[in-house]
Symmetry: C2
Subunit: 347 residues, 2 copies
């Protein structure tokens, strides 16, 4: 271990080239002979050389830092968020960027704007985007490139990656109708989330409703707080509304626990009597129930990776989104909670 860190000048000296040649060899922004490049690389590894990040930033006017605006609150089985963050950090690192955390909620667009204007980050990843989100305006005013994870109601030409709720709910309904189901209910997130303009709640509701209507089926959706207790109650209400329902799609991880409990307590077997399909879940939740749930997983890792990639693409060209917006479906993971409609209930 060297007592003091080697500089680019040291490398140049050892490789018998000029400082600038070393710089160009490293950045590959100017042709360098294979031979000299080899000498440089040898010198670098002999000295254990690493580019000084601060000097690079100062000279190049780029921080090589991406900021992730990280929602402070939150409860839930955070599997998806964790996956997302880890994947984003990893992708950034592999691309030569650091991912820093800016812990700001939807109300702190002022702070966001300040930090962004200081040029602390080359680009920003905005999580938990609301349908009408003030932070979007703040970032635009600050003039910092950013990519949304999720999306506002109007996306204009903003860069974003999001779950494709239309496709996911359509796939869910299709999967169940293929099994013969027609009376399919939908258990959504909470009323509160809807009122806050939480995109998934609104988009999944619309997607489910459209998918049902398209097939001439009657949608039956319910909003539900995030607790097993609320899930039990909601399941009761759904059964009260339609005692003959044969399937329920849930998009509420915690409440789903209550759904299965309520069905069991009524001696309705899963999936013999009622099929349960949990959508937009995180890995592992399916295995937490008996029988293991059939699920459609939120692609947390993919969102993280693609979010960073979209943002980096933005930085390259500087202007309008160079990558198309990304919408990912939730892939189906077969489980034991869905099955064909019981013959006696078929009509």
């Amino acid at each position: 271990m060297e007592a003091v860190m080697a500089t680019m000048q040291d490398v140049a000296r050892l490789a018998n080239v000029s400082l600038s040649t070393v710089s160009y060899a490293l950045s590959e922004t100017r042709p360098v002979t294979a031979a000299t490049k080899a000498r440089i690389e040898a010198a670098m590894s002999e000295l254990g050389y690493h580019r000084n990040a601060a000097a690079r930033s100062l000279a190049s006017h780029r921080s090589h830092v991406l900021a992730l605006i990280f929602p402070a609150m939150q409860q839930g089985l955070g599997g998806t968020v964790t996956e997302f963050v880890a994947s984003a950090a990893d992708t950034a690192r592999q691309s030569g960027y650091q991912l820093v955390l800016w812990p700001f909620g939807a109300t702190q667009s002022r702070e966001i704007r300040d930090l962004a204007q200081q040029g602390q980050a080359d680009g920003v990843l905005l999580m938990e985007v609301r349908l009408d989100d003030p932070r979007v305006e703040a970032l635009r005013k600050a003039g910092v490139p950013f990519t949304m994870i999720g999306r506002t109601a109007r996306v204009d030409d903003l860069s974003y990656v999001d779950i494709d709720f239309t496709r996911t709910t359509e796939d869910a309904v299709a999967y169940l109708t293929d099994l013969g189901h027609e009376r399919i209910a939908f258990l959504n997130h909470s009323q509160a989330s809807r009122e806050e303009g939480y995109g998934p709640t609104v988009r999944a509701h619309d997607g489910y409703t459209a998918a049902m209507r398209r097939r001439g089926l009657v949608p039956h959706a319910i909003l539900c707080d995030e607790s097993p207790g609320a899930g039990r109650t909601a399941m009761s209400e759904l059964l009260a509304g339609d005692p003959d329902l044969t399937a329920v799609i849930t998009m509420n991880e915690i409440a789903t626990f209550g759904v299965t409990v309520e069905l069991q307590s009524r001696d309705l077997q899963i999936p013999r009597d009622v099929s349960v399909l949990a959508i937009v879940t995180s890995p592992g939740v399916g295995a937490m129930s008996h029988p293991p749930l059939t699920t459609m997983h939120a692609p947390g890792a993919a969102l993280g990776r693609l979010g960073v990639q979209s943002l980096l693409a933005l930085l390259q060209v500087g202007e309008t989104p160079s990558t198309d917006p990304v919408l990912l479906p939730c892939p189906l993971e077969p489980g034991g909670s869905t099955g064909p409609v019981p013959p006696e209930r078929r009509r």
Copy 2:
């Protein structure tokens, strides 16, 4: 909004002082007359001045960045981790530091060492520390100050903040014995976690066992996978082992769902027949059950704040931990799942 960012030189000119005086006024590292300071501040706000982070780092040899080594995997109701991360990021920011994410698992000590040696961060926060963790050695070799969240088996003079499992399990047992309970079981994390050297599993087990023995009571602990199904099974086994048990302490959020289900399915009412005390939980989980659980919350936010503060203290003095190690108990949150021993079962 200024087209180009103001520099310190601009501020100096406008305030009629030298560049260095501005610098000293900002860092408060040399006396500056109130009058001149006022002029400087006026100039700064007029220009909307912000210190350039890269230039500062280059000249001062400090990055003003703290790295958080972030475990890639993980499932669980991540409430505590999320709280921790948000709190750490916030505390860092308020202290003039950025928090960056280094997504490395316990097996990637090599990568950690490389990054650390490049001086990318002034200090490191190490999460999810194992009892015998190779990353600790890597960080020591890299010569970067670091604070552990959790702790190795031997802490020597390392800096750390952790949950006080001894105190928490003691408090849990005391709370239940005060209610008259004597037959108190403990449902722990998984066998796998124990074998991986996961500190909480080991320390809570020991703490519970000691607390029981100290009172002349017989400990009855069981390891349990993280799923409601495993929780049901484990609860069954506990009841098979001691049909007369009147209370169970759980430290396994997901499994606890199964515990309550199993008790209900046996017509054992909570808390009339059996008390359930969930320890080291995250906010919100208590409310997810019926009745709402009595819990002892993991102090996620406090750990984040204190972890950063300990690390910053380390940076100040440079050498051995200047702050004492921090051990935090989990405060009790009263709920509806614990009560006195039923009279007929008292002996």
